[in-house]
């Protein structure tokens, strides 16, 4: 990255901080069991910001996201969310603080109906939040029409919408998306990204891992390139797309 | 675990990671060392306890023969089971049923036609052969449909089958029956006597072999000089013979394990789909493994329960199966040496030692008489008479011993599911797999360039 670009990234980062940091990952070392995958990871997401993580296979993108949600073992560093240290919390607690997570595969309860899936999203509340439910139905009308259908019988794209809808039931401040376009037929991919844009426009911050790096960078505010479990590059989506080195090495020219 | 440390010291290795050397060959010495060392340690403990507590010589020698007998018979069944579970990954908890088939068939074949429960009156060797064959056939009947089931379902099917077998032998409907004009019977609930009980037959046979008989006489006279009764000496003879059979089982199963056949079994245990994708007819391999294991269980049943001279259906309760399983898990599934070690640990330490201690305590006295019920024993505790409570415990050592068995099993599953001997690198091949000499130069070169790839 050239000098000027680094400077631009710095400015971008300044702006983010001005925007008020929602998630802050600092010096994080994490992995599974004894196996360390992330080293010294630094990452921030501002309130309402749209951030993506890209990088080659095995770079630790999904692990980075999982470590935010308490699904990995932490060996060092901290994760702070909205002023609270969530480093040692389990997912069940983290959800209470306004984080939602959509895993990559197998992300619906296939033997439950669509509606029951959504209700499970609000399990920690005493009552099913009717307005949140209605908001999800408004966002994904197909889910309202198919309320009583078993989730397992829906198509891949519909399941992905259901999984997102379930995570939105608690109206999280930050939504974590693990490869939302994975395995979708390409005609559906654009639609999926549009919907993510909509969710972000409504004020929910997004942290997303994507294989489809070009499209993701085109849409996001800011991107992180991970290499070998470490921070590689950071910058606005446009800058990363324009960066010759990043293009060559990670985006296939 | 201290036993583990002890065993480590015996083998001189931590996790028994023998080098690429010939499989079994190099390890055989240390494995024998482990087993012999363990048995000697057990003997020493039993003798020491007996001597310290002032038990008589006959009692001590008898206890040792009992320990040896139990270790041997458990080792036989555990080795057979290890073929199923340790090598092939078949979760068979119907072991007692297959032992029942073997033993009952042998008993029915050898019983005299005019006995209370009539039989075919065949000689013992024919009875043994028929017993093994029958166990294998029942194994085949079970295997044909059931081996494609997942492990927990196979477990339920096998234990249900074992119960069906036991209930069938228990039934009065087959107490005596007639096939092709020949009267046969199982004896129903009252059981069946074993005409040619292996114990007597074997000892008589040994006594008639020239040379051996001299050795046996010498052994016998030394023991009887120490005040040991003839029946105990006979028990020792039979125990020796069983040890020889254990060696034969071990040899056979090591050969199976260390062969391309065993390699396929191992691959089935790890991931059957992979084996299928590599062109192995896994169904056939599983059936073979199951049948061989079942017939070995049948023989083990004959040598074990047959030697008591009498069997009834309740000899083959499901808990017999669980005891065998626990012994296998203690030693570590997948390793034949582990199986023998597990058998010794279970039979000697978990099963026989508490009983031995209780019987010494009972014989030598010193404790108040035991309260008749648990409530009274607890009452005694309140009256500050803890010894009475202890006496109640000793009086009820049977159930307590089984509680201990349960605790050991759970602790093992939690802390050391791979068993005392741990994962052992027993290479499934008939030869050592180190690189044949001629191409050694190239390895070093390639290995050097690729160092970074390891985790």
């Amino acid at each position: 990255m050239s000098e000027s670009e680094t400077a631009a990234a710095d400015i971008e980062a300044e702006e983010t901080r001005a925007r008020e940091t929602l998630l802050e990952v600092s010096n994080l070392d994490a992995g599974y069991g004894d196996l360390q995958i992330l080293t010294d990871l630094e990452m921030t997401v501002g309130r309402g910001e749209y951030v993506t993580i890209v990088g080659p296979n095995g770079a630790g993108k999904s692990t980075a996201m999982k470590s935010v949600f308490g699904l990995t073992s932490h060996m060092g560093g901290t994760v702070t969310f909205d002023g609270t240290d969530i480093t040692q919390m389990v997912p069940e607690e983290i959800i209470h603080h306004g984080l939602g997570y959509v895993p990559q595969n197998d992300n619906v309860f296939s033997s439950l109906t669509v509606r029951e899936n959504l209700e499970m999203g609000a399990y920690i509340l005493d009552e099913v939040p009717e307005d949140a439910l209605q908001a999800v139905f408004d966002r994904f009308p197909i889910l309202e029409r198919r309320q009583e259908q078993k989730a397992g019988t829906m198509s891949g794209g519909q399941q992905q919408m259901l999984a997102m809808g379930r995570a939105l039931m608690l109206e999280p401040k930050l939504l974590l998306l693990d490869e939302p376009s994975a395995g979708l037929a390409p005609d559906l991919v654009a639609d999926m990204f549009d919907r993510i844009d909509d969710i972000n426009d409504a004020g929910t911050a997004i942290l997303m891992v994507e294989q489809n790096a070009k499209e993701a960078l085109r849409r996001c505010d800011r991107g992180y390139v991970l290499v070998n479990g470490k921070n590689g590059y950071v910058g606005s989506g446009r800058d990363l797309l324009d960066d010759e080195e990043v293009r060559q090495r990670f985006l296939g020219g | 675990m201290s036993v583990r440390d002890y065993l480590d010291r015996l083998t001189g290795t931590g996790r028994a990671d023998t080098d690429a050397g010939a499989p079994g060959d190099g390890a055989a010495g240390t494995d024998l060392g482990i087993v012999v060392g363990l048995m000697l340690a057990v003997y020493v403990v039993f003798v020491a306890i007996g001597v310290v507590l002032g038990y008589d010589t006959n009692g001590i020698v008898n206890a040792l023969s009992q320990v040896t007998f139990l270790t041997a018979v458990y080792a036989l069944v555990v080795l057979a089971l290890n073929l199923h579970w340790g090598y092939t990954g078949l979760f068979n908890i119907g072991v007692a049923g297959f032992m029942a088939v073997g033993t009952y068939t042998m008993a029915m074949a050898t019983a005299a036609p005019d006995a209370r429960v009539p039989g075919l009156g065949l000689p013992i060797w024919a009875g043994i052969a028929l017993g093994m064959a029958a166990a294998a056939v029942i194994g085949l009947v079970a295997a044909l449909p059931a081996l494609r089931l997942r492990a927990d379902y196979l477990a339920i099917v096998t234990i249900a089958l074992a119960e069906i077998i036991r209930l069938t032998y228990l039934s009065s409907a087959v107490q005596t029956f007639t096939v092709f004009g020949t009267q046969l019977g199982t004896g129903g609930g009252s059981g069946i006597g074993i005409e040619a009980d292996p114990d007597t037959v074997v000892v008589e046979f040994l006594a008639s072999v020239p040379g051996l008989n001299v050795l046996f006489d010498a052994f016998g006279s030394v023991l009887s000089g120490m005040g040991v009764q003839q029946s105990v000496i006979n028990n020792w003879y039979y125990a020796f013979v069983l040890l020889v059979v254990v060696v034969a089982y071990y040899w056979l199963l090591q050969r199976i394990g260390h062969s391309p056949f065993g390699r396929v079994l191992k691959s089935i245990r790890e991931d059957e789909d992979v084996a299928r994708a590599l062109g192995k007819n896994t169904r056939l391999f599983k059936i073979k493994s199951f049948m061989v294991g079942c017939s070995l269980m049948g023989l083990a049943g004959i040598l074990w329960f047959g030697s008591y001279g009498f069997i009834n259906p309740n000899t083959f309760l499901p808990q017999v199966t669980f005891f065998v399983w626990i012994a296998l898990i203690i030693g570590g599934a997948g390793s034949n040496t582990g199986g023998v070690v597990g058998a010794a640990m279970f039979a000697a330490v978990l099963f026989e030692l508490p009983r031995y201690l209780a019987s010494i305590a009972g014989d030598t006295g010193g404790l108040p008489s035991a309260p008749p019920t648990f409530a009274r024993a607890v009452g005694a505790l309140f009256d500050l008479e803890p010894l009475a409570f202890v006496a109640y415990g000793i009086d009820n050592i049977g159930p307590l011993r089984l509680v201990l068995v349960g605790v050991v099993l759970i602790v093992l599953m939690q802390r050391r599911p791979e068993g005392l001997l741990g994962h052992r690198k027993e290479t499934a091949a008939s030869i050592g797999l180190s690189r044949p000499n001629r191409s050694r130069e190239t390895t070093d070169a390639t290995a050097a360039t690729d160092g970074g790839e390891e985790q």
Partner: protein
Amino acid sequence: MSSDTAGSGSAAGDEPTAESDASGADTDAEAPASATGRDDDAGVTATGREADEVGAHIDGTPALAVKNLRKTFGGITAVDGTSFAVEAGKMTGLIGPNGAGKSTTFNLITGFNRPDSGQVLLNGDDITGKQPYEIADRGLVRTFQIARELEEMTVLENMMLGPQHQSGESLWRAVTPGVRSSVKRDEEKVLERVWEMLDFFDIAHLAEEYAGNLSGGQRKLLELARALMTDPDILLLDEPFAGVNPSLENRLLEHVHELREQGYTFLLVEHDIDLIMENCSRVLVLHQGKLLADGEPAEIKADERVIEAYLGGEVE
């Protein structure tokens, strides 16, 4: 999955190393020809087949053909009347989104699932509905999407498992005294091939390691090497590069190309469309269980239907 060269910090440094690694493998690679028992005709076949490649049509019997293959699972149609052919000695790619039926197609071809209707032909012979072991026996061998190595067996044991009809796989031969010595002799022959193959794939230094201790990429190498030990004609690779880091991916690709030059036929399923386009001479596109397109990479890239339904904005 841990990535290699954790200390290097920048991925750029890896690439040249990977290249030199691969070329290093090339120089060693005389061995594999004999390792796979094809030393005599490898060169000839390869050039012979190169000549065919110009035609791009399949003359005579295709190595593998499926006709009208159909499979439903509980009312959902996974494969819906697919037909295609794979030419001998070529590398054919199979692409499509998740749920397009790629893995099911693989399972139907290799006997892991039984098709509801349709046919699978191997060198012209009908193998529909045969057991996996019979199909592998006829020279069609698969690998799995997630490398399925036999975890508690060493790399050597994994490799020794490969060859078909080993004399010691018969129980009585394995145990009977006297006969066993012939088993040992056969094992020694297999062992020699195993080491040659390990050298070819540069994993000889891992020989004593339990397969469960290997990294994701090493497992993929082992799985391919083990499949080759069965002496197949056609290899079906299910996402062989998924989760493999870039430098190892290059190495794996080198190996595959080299093997193809020796005359092996490949059918591979991959997510990475660019990788398929660059490396395969023919590409099949599955969509909703049906074959959407079948042609050379250039044709596929230009195919309107494919662009519309599949490649979308990817092609710029």
